[in-house]
Symmetry: C2
Subunit: 410 residues, 2 copies
């Protein structure tokens, strides 16, 4: 082995951390464990039969194109389908130059950091926030500043204070990162009023909004709230989408929409990153949309996940100790809810006890950029069956009870 390897690594590389979630997830692989930890779609939602037909079609009809190198700008057939999909969601006048298919929305997050962030540049995230975004931004040594979430989304007063403070320090805020719909991890949806307020602040203080929308098509209750992109008539928003929750994660496919000038920069960056998003998978996704499978799949997913969400909320109501300092969010969509336990309980300590009782979650602190969130955790309700959800929440409630009793005795 080469000597002094640490001197060969870049500063960014030396700053990289292994994802806490992924390391803890390794402990949850035993079959007897009921895991609410992963962010996995239910495998029975994977459209195997439709896929077999589509793939045959792609190979036979479009093999020469879909198996070859493709344009960095992405597959035109796919982009047309994406434009049609978003039109139905209130986003009008999108042109081909506003859409870029990417190798999963994780790549989109990486590209946002690459394109906008110099080391130590300030960016703002709601706290808690998606751990994959934190990881991507950290790998470029961004100065991540947290703003707490409220029941209707990011606290706009604290946000404005932080924005002003950054400005006063003579620094340039690059963007505010938000997941407005059924946020990962908290399950919170940002109100329309706050979306408008966020845009107002962006226009006033001249920062970008990165709107991450992986779950937008998975609403089980309540009224649709317009996307920030659709409310923005000045081009301050870049929005990220993924096929992982509405098709299958195994393709690693997502897309970005934004102003041409920004998408063009993404394209040039992407050329150097992977030349193009896999043309074979892009074409598969294009047919999947074109032939109406996506719409049907979303309907089925919503039906299934709606039941599982209810099963988890019912089980929490039934088994969790009734105390003022125990609460959980009631997400209107998505895949996660957020459990808060008494402040004196550390969910990282409790994690190993939960594993002993064959139930798993993700420790809340993983979603913070500081030491906050130590009495919180994220629970996924999309992966397990209703029966497992009930049994798992029962086990988890027992673990929480024991933990409280132990700490209170001390």
């Amino acid at each position: 082995m080469i000597s002094g390897i640490e001197n060969l690594f870049s500063k960014n590389a030396n700053n990289l951390k292994r994802s806490v979630i992924r390391e803890l997830l390794k402990l949850t692989n035993k079959p007897e464990i009921i895991s609410f930890a992963g962010g996995l779609p239910a495998p029975q939602t994977f459209p195997k039969e439709e896929l077999t037909n589509i793939v045959d079609e792609v190979i036979t009809k479009d093999g020469a194109k879909s198996l070859q190198y493709g344009a960095t700008e992405g597959d035109e057939m796919l982009k047309e389908e994406i434009i049609k999909l978003l039109e139905k969601d209130g986003i009008e006048n999108l042109k081909m130059e506003n859409v870029l298919p990417v190798t999963a929305s994780q790549q989109a997050l990486d590209m946002c950091a690459k394109i906008f962030v110099n080391p130590e540049d300030p960016i703002i995230l709601g706290m808690p926030s998606y751990v994959g975004a934190i990881g991507a931004f950290r790998s470029y040594r961004a100065d991540m500043i947290g703003v707490p979430l409220q029941e209707d989304g990011m606290d706009m007063e604290i946000l404005e204070e932080k924005v002003k403070k950054i400005k006063k320090e003579g620094r340039k805020l690059k963007f505010v990162y938000v997941i407005p719909d059924f946020q990962n991890p908290a399950g919170i949806t940002m109100s329309e009023a706050k979306r408008k307020k966020l845009l107002e602040l962006a226009y006033k203080y001249n920062f970008l909004i990165i709107e991450d929308s992986p779950y937008r098509n998975l609403r089980y209750t309540g009224e649709n709230v317009p996307s920030i992109y659709s409310l923005d008539d000045k081009g301050y928003t870049v929005s990220l989408y993924t096929f992982s929750k509405i098709f299958a994660p195994g393709f690693r496919l997502g897309w970005i929409i934004g102003p041409d000038e920004i998408i063009d920069k993404f394209v040039v960056a992407k050329q150097a990153m992977d030349l193009c998003t896999p043309p074979f998978s892009q074409r598969i996704a294009a047919y999947y949309m074109k032939e109406g499978y996506l719409k049907k799949r979303i309907e089925k997913n919503v039906k299934l996940y709606r039941k599982r969400r209810k099963a988890m909320l019912d089980a929490l109501e039934k088994y969790m100790p009734k105390r003022d300092d125990i609460s959980w969010t009631k997400p209107e969509g998505g895949m996660f809810l957020w459990l808060t336990v008494p402040e004196f309980v550390d969910t990282e300590d409790m994690f190993y006890k939960a594993i002993d009782e064959n139930v798993a979650y993700v420790v809340g602190n993983a979603f913070y950029v500081d030491d906050d969130g130590s009495n919180t955790c994220r629970l996924n309700f999309s992966y397990c069956s209703k029966e497992k959800i009930e049994e798992g929440i029962k086990r988890l409630s027992d673990v929480v009870k024991q933990e409280i009793e132990e700490k209170e005795v001390k």
Copy 2:
């Protein structure tokens, strides 16, 4: 549009350039143009029938796994097949921890820069070098230092001088990037003696070797030369491979091998970049290898490309003006050869005239990190039929003749 967008972009983003090749390639899309410009495999080599069978198998047997998220470390079945393949090429004792599937070897290049390069860090490349590598390294603002290629690979004396100079300046050389087999763009193969010398220098001066091996399985004549990785018993080499030339580019699949400590760093970086290489495509490639299709495909490719290489060499011999200042390389494999025309001919000026005559190539300067190579160009011989190759070289030879006549008259 947000005002002052250039202030929002990172320094790295402002340093990004559009790939010259990709911009020029757009001019070559007309059907009447015979293009030697792209680096495209012949579409008839795509294994459409085998693929249809394999994909059905992957969906039916392994759908729940291959359509789900996967480990960043990669698909184990694929890694086992890769280890077996490399064993036959003299690389022994590879463990699972030494292999990482990536989203095309372009991602591997991007990761090499991300992991090793701080802005202004020196790295060394043979000149000319693969334009995609230059693009990836530039996007991290590496200080790229060129060392000229000779007929048997990089000039080792100049290399040692440059290495000493960097050391004297108190700077840390991060790596030397080489494409030892049938180099892109020059078609040159590095001799065994030079591979050993390069390792000696790496051991002496403590730098890494990035060995890019996209064409290694495509040899049409001459004797196999051991890979640098197989000659290195001290762990100073990281080698990059791709499925693009031996399966199909449309999957965007490649892999890296290297010492565990370095692969581990790649894994952590990749978590933040795209979580994992598409599990669906990885499993397809695994079956493709396991069922013996890869071996057969390589044999067919070699047979086809060997004929096309000969067609191009014969046509150059037949049509190109006979002059001491016109020459071309005679690659023993790969997909490209390198044409040098008289110094007073600028291949970028000539490019537009060639397009008018319906023949295209890539200007040589695109493969340099300075203004060198203006009288060179890269010709691809894998994509066009023998007949088109002869006709295209005839056209190109006429363009070169006219260009020489015009300049000599002046």
